[in-house]
């Protein structure tokens, strides 16, 4: 019996994923209502549950894709993978008020540039203080503080060592998780209320995964505005990391 059920679930991965995620969201909304009286958004709880499941999956399989590495939950990998994630993000653009988006055009670009340069400086300086004083390692770890994709792309371009690459990816991952979990908590401090503020947030907080999950857990209405800017974040980081930022670091530390 159980074996047949398991086989049915495993060979219908995406469908299983829909059912599991639906269950997680249902449970989260219940917890949000009963335990926090709606003060903590159901989506925020769902994302935290997702992260906990990812940790559990990672310890069970030793893989790098969290729950998706377990054969029973393989469909989670497809459902939450880049393809469907981007498809759903693009779909949210249908709700964007073009006039609102245009109002924040320039400030969005400023936020993007700041969101690349500031984390880079922080990451590179802390790397330096930890004894990674060569330009290549500093740049790679600094780029990881931009996003966990910019880190390895930059590291590969300038020839960083594998352990520095791993550190760089870990930095980016922790940043994404912090943004996912921290945004709903800090929403009031961040003044996340308007489309413009969401675009500033999208540019500065970086990482599509962090921004999209953070905004989803704060106010679903703001998602498209933040995502619109955040999707340029990785591209800009990959552009600046191995070039301008690397040369600047090299000029500073030799």
């Amino acid at each position: 019996m159980l074996e047949i059920l398991q086989k049915a679930a495993a060979s219908n991965g995406l469908v299983t994923a829909f059912a599991i995620v639906g269950l997680v969201v249902l449970l989260s909304n219940f917890l949000s209502r009963k335990l926090t009286f709606g003060r903590v958004h159901g989506s925020a709880i769902a994302i935290v549950i997702g992260l906990v499941l990812a940790y559990w999956g990672g310890t069970q399989t030793g893989g790098h894709k969290g729950l998706a590495d377990m054969s029973l939950f393989g469909g989670i990998g497809l459902m939450g993978g880049a393809m469907l994630r981007d498809f759903a993000i693009v779909a949210t653009a249908f709700e964007v008020q073009a006039t609102e988006a245009r109002k924040a055009g320039l400030i969005g670009v400023v936020a993007l540039v700041l969101g690349t340069v500031l984390p880079f400086i922080v990451g590179a300086s802390i790397a330096w203080s930890f004894g990674y004083t060569d330009a290549v390692s500093m740049t790679t770890i600094g780029a990881g503080a931009v996003t966990y994709i910019v880190g390895p792309v930059t590291g590969a371009a300038i020839g960083a060592s594998p352990d520095v690459m791993a550190l760089s990816i870990a930095t980016g991952l922790i940043k994404a998780i912090l943004v996912m979990v921290g945004t709903p908590v800090a929403a009031r401090f961040l003044r996340l209320k308007t489309p413009r503020s969401a675009m500033v947030f999208g540019g500065l907080a970086g990482t599509v995964s962090g921004v999209s999950a953070g905004l989803a857990a704060t106010d679903r209405k703001l998602v498209p505005y933040g995502a619109l800017v955040a999707t340029f974040h990785t591209g800009l980081g990959c552009l600046m990391g191995p070039s301008v930022l690397f040369f600047a670091t090299k000029a500073l530390v030799g």
């Binding site: 992260l51 981007d86 792309v153």
Partner: protein, 137 residues
């Protein structure tokens, strides 16, 4: 037909990714530059154009709206496949640089958003919620 909406979404998505790849190649970086953002802009323009021409029936909108509403579940699935284990294994350096980077960016976001004129906040409060999400209370 509902598929028209989903197909429109798919076409914008693909075209955006394609243009993002081209842009990345033109700039000499190995990644996609803003492909998803370009796709979003294409979809916004497509909607404005179709609304003006009056060729956007409700059912077509639903074909896009469904995927927009699936956004949060997809994000939950995305969270469930993050490499949390190796993130936690990154140690003090990774944790410290991530914390400081996020903290600094939060302060800057807060500063910039505090400069926003209050009238704009009032405008935005009047924003309609476009797609009613099922979990909304």
């Amino acid at each position: 037909m509902i598929i028209y909406g989903t197909a429109l979404l798919a076409a914008c998505h693909l075209l955006g990714i394609f243009l993002g790849d081209l842009l990345g190649q033109a700039m000499g970086v190995k990644t996609n530059v803003g492909g998803v953002g370009i796709a979003m802009l294409l979809l916004i323009f497509a909607r404005l154009y179709m609304q003006k021409k009056n060729i956007l029936p409700k059912l077509t909108e639903v074909g896009v709206g469904y995927w927009g509403a699936m956004y949060i579940p997809v994000v939950v699935a995305m969270a469930a496949q993050q490499d949390v284990v190796s993130a936690l294994r990154g140690g003090h350096l990774a944790l410290l640089s991530a914390l400081v980077a996020v903290g600094l960016c939060a302060v800057v976001i807060s500063l910039i958003n505090r400069m926003e004129k209050p009238s704009e906040e009032a405008d935005a409060a009047a924003l309609p919620t476009a797609v009613p999400t099922p979990h909304a209370k």
